[in-house]
């Protein structure tokens, strides 16, 4: 995933919260079962549509299963994007890998000793219940601020970064 420096160790790997990908998965499953639902409710559909479905039943089923396969592949593309979008804390730096699309990645890193301020925000009832939020990290480097949105357990992440930051200053 990343090339580590000598004597560098990965402390923590955090991903975005699972809620957005679950909602996406739910939308994909609804889109996938829609053609099959049409067969189930064929009796209540207009006569012309019902006749087409009855007449081309096998063709219709073939296209429905093909559609399900396409949806299945698209869901895994979305999941891969979610899976590869990560935030890594090591003993020397923090790395934010933002997977924009399958062939578009934005990788930024910040040395721990450059961190000036770190805080997190949990906005709203859902975020509080599901434990996700945004982490803001200010630095003295070229890129002034790191914002990691919708990350799981922002409190633990802040704690881990602060701890590593203190250790890097001691060392």
């Amino acid at each position: 995933m990343i090339d580590l420096y000598p004597e560098e160790k990965i402390i923590l790997i955090e991903r975005k919260h699972w809620l957005p990908i679950s909602i996406e998965g739910l939308s994909f499953s609804m889109a996938g079962i829609l053609p099959f639902l049409a067969i189930g409710i064929a009796d209540s559909l207009p006569q012309s549509i019902k006749l087409v479905i009855d007449h081309y039943r096998l063709n219709y089923l073939f296209f429905s299963s093909a559609w399900l396969l396409v949806i299945w592949v698209l869901f895994f593309m979305a999941w891969t994007k979610y899976y590869l979008d990560i935030f890594i804390v090591t003993t020397k730096r923090i790395v934010d890998i933002n997977q924009i699309s399958l062939f578009s990645r934005d990788v930024s890193e910040m040395k721990l000793e450059h961190i000036q301020d770190i805080n997190y925000k949990v906005n709203g009832l859902l975020a509080s219940l599901m434990k996700f939020g945004d982490v803001h990290i200010q630095s003295a480097g070229e890129k002034n601020e790191f914002v990691i949105r919708n990350i799981s357990n922002p409190d633990k992440l802040c704690e881990a970064i602060s701890k590593q930051h203190l250790e890097s200053l001691k060392g």
Binding site: M1, I13, L58, N59, L61, F62, F63, S65, A66, L68, L69, V70, W72, V73, F76, M77, W79, T80, Y83, L84, I86, L102
Partner: protein, 60 residues
């Protein structure tokens, strides 16, 4: 029907190559990727088999 089945197969093959490339190149958690790959290929195989059977009977 013929064109659509070939298009579907081509889409699946290309998408699978792309996904596999990403899973291999950037994998972080080997166990999770292995499980994902297993689920992906198993369900895909079932869906392709069902589609192929339906295609065969529909074109008779």
């Amino acid at each position: 029907m013929d064109i659509s089945s070939w298009a579907l197969l081509a889409f699946f093959v290309i998408a699978t190559i792309i996904l596999n490339y990403h899973w291999k190149k950037y994998e972080v958690d080997t166990m999770r990727v292995r499980a994902t790959r297993y689920v992906y290929f198993t369900v895909s195989a079932v869906l392709i088999t069902v589609s192929a059977i339906l295609f065969y009977y529909a074109s008779l």
